[in-house]
């Protein structure tokens, strides 16, 4: 029973999606059933956030309670989750008059203030630091060790020059045809064909996995191999 029911649900849900795709708008019953499944899927997705909050709280709180090494960071994590999340979820009506705009996610709310002044600068700082590490890594690791590595190095350097105005001006001084050459033969030639191969391969893999789930061959989502 514990295995059969999930398998039947997965089969019916998958079948509804496939039928709705091929039947188009012509069969309203199939369309309505698939629409219902999609709404349910979105609702289930929402619950995964709740699961995430419970999980992050449990894992970090356990370390705080046990005063494990670095427990202060865990405490900050737990506090941050609730300080950021609760004001966004509290209904405005729960707050005293004059403070209702602090609830929710609109401009002027606590959530928005934290997002604009803490979350965004911190995320952007982390991302910007990548530029420093990439520069250091490029200096040390991007070497002409083989023919393939040399080709990659030359192509990457050309594309890097082509993607900035100063670089493009430099390429134009060599020959005005060079920027067009990069766009036509590197980006829309070699790159495009390789990307297509990767996309088709990934799509075939996804289709195979979907079929395995619909037919009940793939059961890892039930915790079984």
């Amino acid at each position: 029973m514990k295995t059969t029911v999930p398998l039947i649900i997965a089969f019916l849900a998958g079948l509804a999606m496939v039928l709705s795709f091929f039947s188009g708008p012509g069969v309203p019953v199939v369309r309505d059933i698939s629409a219902e499944f999609l709404i349910w899927s979105s609702i289930i997705g929402g619950f995964s956030f709740l699961l995430g909050v419970v999980s992050i709280t449990r894992v970090n709180w356990r370390k705080v309670a046990a005063r494990q090494h670095g427990w202060g960071y865990n405490l900050v994590t737990v506090i941050s989750v609730f300080v950021m999340g609760l004001p966004a979820l509290i209904p405005a009506g729960w707050l005293p008059e004059g403070m209702t705009s602090l609830a929710g996610r609109n401009a002027g709310s606590v959530y928005d203030w934290l997002f604009v002044n803490i979350m965004t600068p911190m995320s952007q700082t982390m991302f910007a630091i990548l530029a420093f590490y990439i520069a250091s890594a490029a200096y040390r690791a991007f070497r002409t060790r083989s023919t393939e590595a040399t080709l990659l190095l030359l192509t990457a350097s050309l594309v890097m020059l082509w993607r900035v105005p100063m670089g493009e001006a430099l390429l134009n001084t060599i020959t005005p045809a060079l920027p067009d050459f990069i766009n036509t033969y590197i980006m829309n030639g070699v790159n495009l064909s390789v990307q297509r191969g990767i996309i088709i391969g990934a799509a075939l893999g996804a289709a195979t996995m979907s079929l395995r789930i619909i037919l009940g061959i793939e059961r890892t989502y039930m915790g079984k191999g």
Binding site: M17, F21, S34, A35, L38, I39, S41, S42, I44, G45, G46, S48, F49, G104, R105, N106, A107, Y111, D112, F115, V116, M119, T120, S123, Q124, M126, F127, A131, F132, I134, A135, S136, A138, Y139, R140, F142, R143, T144, L153, S157, M160, L161, R163, V164, P165, M166, G167, E168, A169, P179, N183, M187, N188, N191, L192, Q195, R196, I198, I199, A203
Partner: protein, 282 residues
């Protein structure tokens, strides 16, 4: 230890310092550059420009806050174009942290500049989890997936959403994304609902999207800050991306210079080692 060996073992903090200098100089001495327009950027602009005035466009904010330097200028330039053509704009986010808040801030700011009214000319649907279900579900009923907008107002109370029920009433999808959702806008909304899709993505994502432009599944493409600067130029509204071109140019030049120096050092050091080996053998 000779010069090349010393360079080979250069402390990484010197590299960090050089990158910092390259990033700061354009802030102190701003310079303007001639921005060329790529065929993909031009094609996206023209696709939007060809839409009749008062068309309905979905503009996505599938973005995290860390890549805002690349994506926010695209959103701003796109909104300038859309509002200038009096289009009805529906914004939606498939990313929980970032998209809805940025959409709220940027859209309201630009809507005020063009005298647009919320609910009538533009709507922010906000975020719902599960982008595959969301994208598929919106094809049947937007209200089914988003019963309320980002502020909690029921869609039935918003004049724009009383008219727009699903993709049938939408004329164009302008995707701005820094993650894989653009693939789903292509494979679900373009492939299954036949809606034209154009995209603005981060520089690291752009190479993959060339495959969709080549197949006609994307009508055009903006790649990274350069793509954003191209759209800013096309709509005639210079912004952060155009300013950022100086910084990006210098850092790219520095990276190439570092790669060249690193390789010269590598080749010389290898040559010296080989010569020494030969001498030892002899």
């Amino acid at each position: 230890m000779n010069l090349w060996q010393q360079l080979d073992k250069l402390d990484r903090r010197w590299v960090f310092l050089l990158v910092w200098i390259a990033a700061v100089i354009p802030l102190i001495v701003p310079a303007t550059f001639k921005i060329s327009i790529s065929p993909e950027g031009k094609s996206l602009f023209e696709a939007v420009d060809r839409l009749p005035d008062s068309s309905t466009v979905i503009l996505t904010f599938d973005i995290w806050p860390n890549a805002l330097a690349e994506t926010e200028p695209m959103e701003r330039a796109a909104l300038h174009h859309l509002f200038r053509k009096n289009m009805y704009v529906i914004t939606v986010a498939n990313i929980p942290l970032g998209g809805p808040s940025v959409a709220e801030r940027v859209t309201r700011e630009l809507a005020a500049q063009y005298g647009k009214t919320y609910g009538v000319d533009y709507v922010n649907l906000g975020y719902k989890p599960g982008y595959v279900s969301v994208l598929r579900g919106m094809g049947t009923s937007i209200e089914g997936i988003f019963p309320t907008d980002n502020s909690g107002t029921p869609l039935s109370e918003l004049p724009l959403m009383q008219r727009v029920k699903n993709y049938e009433q939408v004329d164009f999808i302008f995707v701005v994304a820094d993650n894989a959702t653009v693939d789903y806008w292509v494979s679900i909304v373009n492939a299954q609902f036949r809606k034209p899709v154009g995209a603005g993505v981060t520089a690291v994502m752009a190479p993959k999207q060339f495959a969709y432009v080549g197949s006609g599944q994307l009508v055009g493409l903006l790649g990274g800050m350069k793509g954003a600067a191209e759209y800013e130029k096309l709509v005639g509204k210079s912004g952060l991306a155009t300013t950022g071109m100086g910084m990006q140019s210098l850092v790219h030049f520095l990276l190439i210079a570092l790669i060249v120096v690193g390789n010269v050092g590598y080749i010389v050091t290898r040559q010296v080692a080989r010569t020494r080996e030969r001498k030892v053998k002899a």
